[in-house]
């Protein structure tokens, strides 16, 4: 039971990450590989606040979201001058810089040793100390993020984002300040990714830079693409498939070292197969790179 609830917590955290990245990729057509760094920024902010001051959940989670949002705005400001392809490289740069900070600013982040002893979150006097309680907290957060992103997507704001995705020049000609919308989308995305980071830190009680590498960014990106960018159920399907499928390997009785490599191979094969045979993802309708 604990194992299942552990998987579900991870799937819910990844759902939050995928939903937030999909707002950029699926809804606005902006590709970013800096998502794990925003996730990490939220995780470190919340973890450090929790370890040093142990405030209630909201007090430790909100600053991370604000910082995640602010960093996303800084990253997106670079997009004003760059082409979409160049922008992906720029996000790679930001990802590397933030990872470098997590790993090397030892006096604050404890570098490779990580931050340990993160206390359980406290909400309204309750302490979420067991996996089922964490599952409720994380699922509720995932649901809230999911609903918020759908709300944005279905508003006139979302209509402008889709117009940017389809034809930014057309949107500009109709008087839409497209750069402002892109910055806003990034800000929301960074805010939600940082929330996922805070939840992750609380749940794991220990974080170190290895959870926020470029590979993690690519994993989140794969979930978006495999699920189906810009679709309603895509984020959920993408997160579930890539969290649960590799776990299935455990039951094949393979040695850990082989299972780890096999997991990477499965991601690779799945990604290639999806891009070739179902470019709009498992449950999506919008094709990336059309």
């Amino acid at each position: 039971m604990e194992y299942v609830s552990h998987l579900l917590v991870l799937a819910a955290i990844y759902t939050i990450l995928v939903v937030s990245l999909d707002l950029l990729i699926g809804h606005t057509g902006i590709m970013s590989v800096a998502h794990a760094s925003l996730f990490g920024l939220g995780a470190y902010t919340t973890a450090l606040l929790a370890v040093h001051y142990d405030p209630p959940f909201i007090i430790s989670i909100v600053p991370g979201m604000v910082i995640g949002s602010a960093m996303a705005v800084i990253i997106s400001l670079a997009s004003l001058r760059l082409t979409r392809d160049q922008f992906v490289l720029a996000t790679f740069g930001f990802q590397s810089i933030l990872f470098g900070i997590f790993e090397n600013w030892v006096s604050v982040t404890r570098g490779p040793f990580g931050v340990s002893g993160i206390p359980h979150p406290r909400i309204l006097g309750l302490t979420a100390s067991s996996p089922p309680l964490m599952l409720i907290l994380v699922s509720a957060s995932a649901l809230l993020c999911y609903a918020a992103v759908i709300r944005f997507a279905r508003s006139p704001f979302g209509r402008v984002l889709r117009a940017i995705r389809e034809d930014e020049v057309f949107a500009k000609s109709l008087g839409k300040a497209t750069y402002r919308y892109k910055i806003s989308a990034f800000a929301i995305s960074g805010c939600i990714a940082a929330l996922a980071g805070g939840l992750y830190a609380y749940y794991m009680t220990f974080i170190d830079p290895t959870s926020f590498t470029i590979m993690e960014s690519i994993l989140i990106l794969s979930m978006v693409i495999i699920g189906g960018a810009g679709s309603r159920w895509g984020p959920l399907v993408g997160a579930l498939v890539l969290v649960i499928l590799p776990e299935g390997l455990r039951f094949l009785g393979l040695p850990d070292s082989v299972a780890g490599s096999l997991r990477q191979v499965i991601y690779g094969v799945l990604l290639i197969a999806i891009v070739i045979f179902r470019p709009s993802g498992l449950v999506g309708s919008f094709r990336l790179g059309r």
Binding site: P156, F157, R159, E166, V169, F170, S173, L174
Partner: protein, 252 residues
């Protein structure tokens, strides 16, 4: 509409090739102005500069006294100038109605807080939907007003009408149209020209780039002939198009 669109000494070159060479123009405040000229005369470049999509190497553009040369396209559109493109642009994946809704200006629901809290957004959206339907009907796309009518499924001529409906939805008073009737059927051509006449008579300024000289004669109040990046004639069509040297330059 009392403010006029003008440009002074506008020059532009691409990789050393001059596209515009010191263009001075003052457009009327309303009516239909056609820009003609051979390929490469700088017609589209002029439209790109007037609408902020390209910054000129030198020279300035104005609305009334206000300089707009260095404003981005969205700010110029907000001042009441909108445009269509030679290569049709619209969101083909979504409905014609959504395209027109997108074009509506100053929507509350387009702000972050408006999108999240939706204060007055439903009412505004309902009004915009009505306006969008009326606009689609007014350009002759009354049959494509439902959510399921994908813009991409409309014919080329119908998509040209849709892009006009989008321009009108922005409430702009000046429309810059890049070849609005190129490649459309004769029936659609008549429909579009009639629409332009109606808009011109309603006090809007319509500037359109066109190769179809008979269409220019039919609807334009003024014609601007461009060649090699310069304005070589500007006047009423009956005079400009009667000058043999103008037609010679055009054909050459």
């Amino acid at each position: 509409m009392s403010e006029t669109l003008s440009c002074r000494g506008v020059s532009m070159s691409f990789n050393g090739l001059s596209a515009l060479a010191g263009v001075n123009l003052v457009f009327p405040s309303s009516g239909i102005v056609s820009i003609i000229g051979p390929n490469g005369a700088g017609k589209t470049t002029l439209i790109d500069i007037l609408t902020g999509f390209i910054r000129p190497d030198s020279g300035s553009c104005f609305i009334g006294q206000r300089e707009i040369t260095h404003l981005p396209p969205d700010q110029i559109a907000a001042l009441g100038i909108t445009r269509t493109f030679q290569h049709l642009r619209c969101i083909t994946q979504t409905s014609a109605l959504e395209n027109v809704l997108l074009a509506r200006p100053r929507q509350r629901g387009e702000s972050l807080l408006g999108a999240l809290f939706r204060l007055g957004v439903a009412e505004e959206e309902k009004q915009n939907r009505e306006i969008a339907k009326r606009l689609l009907e007014s350009v002759g796309l009354g049959h494509a007003t439902t959510e399921s009518d994908r813009a991409g499924e409309l014919s080329y001529g119908q998509q040209k009408l849709l892009s006009l409906a989008c321009c009108l939805a922005t409430e702009a008073q000046m429309l810059l149209l890049d070849e609005p009737i190129a490649g459309v059927s004769p029936k659609r051509r008549e429909q579009i020209l009639k629409l332009l006449l109606t808009l011109g008579n309603q006090g809007m300024l319509i500037i359109f780039v066109e190769h179809d000289i008979s269409a220019v004669k039919e609807v334009a109040d003024q014609v601007i002939m461009m060649d090699e990046g310069k304005v070589i004639a500007h006047g009423v069509p009956s005079e400009v198009l009667a000058r043999p040297e103008i037609m010679e330059a055009y054909i050459a």
